[in-house]
Amino acid sequence: MYGLFLRHFYLITRSFPRILDLVYWPTIQITLWGFISNFFAIHTTYYNNAVGVILTCAILYDFLFRTSIGFNMLFLEEIWSRNFTNLFIAPMKIGEILTSLVATALIRALIGLIPAVLLTSPLFGISILDLGIFLFFLFLSLYLFGITLGILVSAGLLRYGPSFENIAWSTMFLLAPFGCIYYPIEILPEVFQKIAYLLPLVYIFEEARNILINQTVDIRNIYNAFMWNGVYFVLSIALFYYSFHVAKKKGTLINMGE
């Protein structure tokens, strides 16, 4: 019995991502639901005139989640199936690998999204299409951020190996409190607001609520979302190339499948 405990204890103590994983799940859950509860306690009438705001935001968030996880899954599949080395000795440029993963992640996310969008209307009498033409820009922005997170996590997998896998599952939850998905940014403490404004998510969800509740469009939110997406996307690509370079130095690529 003690031996089995030791087996898992040694594993945890030898892997920083595993320790991080243990700590931040409860922290993130408490933080996120704390802000949501706080918001509804103070602003009980906020959503009165806009049925379906929460559901719409949930669908948008799920699209982001599916895109990001979908990208990570494609990368992890190669590690789990011990096919990783085969892939990296094939004559493919890093850019080609990333492009094919980005395209496949989009198709995976759309396969998941379409039934959800179609079901909301007959089940709840709500259509996400109420967001109009701007829905396209919001989805595009979420897709860009989703794949950016996917590329960042994949860069971590390249650099640190499979122990980084737990981070892959939890990046979205880490960002959720700052993303202001279900509540306006004002509900966050000031220091968190400063962090939130550095993420495209807050602009996307603020704009979705703005369109649904106020029936107006603030183009600045869409612009800011794309601007931050551009910044993070370029950074993630650069980090992926850097991680590949480091992995070649440290030998992570050759040990990945073993």
């Binding site: 599949e77 199936s81 011990r82 096919n83 990783f84 080395t85 085969n86 892939l87 990296f88 000795i89 094939a90 004559p91 493919m92 440029k93 370079h245 070649k248 130095k249 440290k250 030998g251 690529l253 050759i254 499948g257 073993e258």
Partner: protein, 245 residues
Amino acid sequence: MKNLVVVKNIKKNYGKNEAVKGISFNIKEDEILGLLGPNGSGKTTTIGMLLGLLKPTSGEILINGQKLEGNRIEILEQINFISPYIELPKKLTVKQNLTVYGKLYKINNINERIEFLSEKLRLGGLLNSITGELSSGQKNRVSLAKALINEPKVLLLDEPTASLDPEVGDFVRSFLEDYKKEKKISILLASHNMNEVTRLCKSILMMKDGIIIDKGNPEELISKHGRKNLEEVFLKLSRSKNELN
């Protein structure tokens, strides 16, 4: 015969640990070079550097006259690799896996190539089987087909017959001998099976602690060390201090 692989004084350090300490060797066209050594001697690191998966700390690798550094993609088109530690996606059929790799290696007539390899490697009845459901012998032949999908000029083999029964092992060895003769390719064979190395290789490198401690053909090494077979030579060199740098 032309040297298809030229390795010049390559070193690989992981921090302070020197995994490979400056080794040089060549592999000619139509040659199988055996790479022997105890675990941790630097064989896998050397193969990793030849595949471009590891960056040498110093030194140079040329494949078919081109430097690996700076020409990784062009060189990867000409080489391939098989190891029991890597597998093909288990859920795909054999044909789907070979088609995927045919596309990745930009093969023009994929179906023709798959047909040719399936005939040579006795895969005909397995093409529509799920790869993960095959026996180890069958999986090994499928991996070999994947490794030959691009008609490589250089083939790197890490324990290609590990865990195979004697019949399948013999089939794979005979196939490699015939294929090398027919296509005039260079093969680097890392193996712990001394009978296999004796049978397939005309020249051998013995590695230990990151350096080449001896080299030559199997008969020469056996005679030089006064042993009965290559396994005894291997044991002697593995247990002794480094003889040749």
